[in-house]
Symmetry: C2
Subunit: 142 residues, 2 copies
DNA sequence: TTGCGTGCAAAGGTTTTGCATGGCA
DNA sequence: TGCCATGCAAAACCTTTGCACGCAA
């Protein structure tokens, strides 16, 4: 099924190129605008949000709302390869990971609760190694 | 370590009692205010947000920002029992569940990425049985 | 030429904050 | 009595929307 008629514009090209070039990180709308402005590829905020919505709907871009953050982050979806996100609640570091165990979890949940997990949206929060070490140091200091 | 000095007030009691009584569901600020108003236990919005922040910081209440929602939800944490949240992306239904497989995942991630998962914050999105059936019906209609 | 896309500015919705007042200990 | 908590209103913040104009096909 074709989507509604749509035109190619330089604004859309700027946005999509930028997302493709930074597919290893999650970017907020502000970060995308800032990045584009630095390259003098100026796009209005309204256009950015409108096009992001469109990309998300077409599953070209993934939208994430991390816990305790008020603004959404976006990432270009490179392939159908399933990734799971680890986000450190202390320093904010993000790790993309594959994990076969999570496939088992999804299967388990599907069998026991008849829930079909949308694996693209799985995000786990925790503490990375560096922050665990810092925690230990703080405890020693107390 | 004691927190800063703090007074007991009826507003705080109203809020915490309400959350305790509804510990099986996630409530938005609006829903809490509405529920309290019905009981004529009126609390201002500012007070609610301030106290919720405080409860979250003390790990008495869990704050969640579900994907594609703009407002946060809150839930009283009953015990240290680990729960995982399944949220249906179609109808919004929420299922709390235990899943031993997830324990394995957390162990796996800890070993492979030195990431210590905060299991209380794990949320999985997917489609519940009812909505899967509806999807099937729609496909047949097409 | 047609009508979708853009930019601007304003609106919308949730959460936070400043300040004067109220109430707990 | 001292000082934290409250309520009100305004501000802050991210995102969406209305509208006129511009530009792709």
């Amino acid at each position: 099924m074709e989507h509604a008629k749509s035109y190619n514009t330089k604004q859309k090209e700027y946005i999509l190129s930028y997302l493709k070039k930074h597919k290893d990180v999650y970017l907020t709308a502000d970060e995308i605008l800032y990045g584009l402005n630095k390259k003098e590829e100026v796009v209005s905020r309204a256009t950015l949000y409108r096009y992001l919505d469109c990309l998300v709907e077409q599953s070209i871009v993934k939208k994430i709302l991390f816990q305790n953050e008020t603004k959404a982050s976006y990432q270009y979806i490179e392939s159908t390869c399933k990734k799971y996100i680890l986000k450190c609640t202390s320093c904010g570091k993000i790790v993309n990971t594959d994990c076969s165990d999570l496939e088992n979890v999804c299967r388990h949940l599907q069998e026991n609760h008849n829930f079909l997990i949308d694996e693209a949206n799985i995000t786990l929060y925790g503490e990375c190694q560096d922050c665990q070490k810092k925690e230990d140091n703080h405890h020693e200091e107390d």
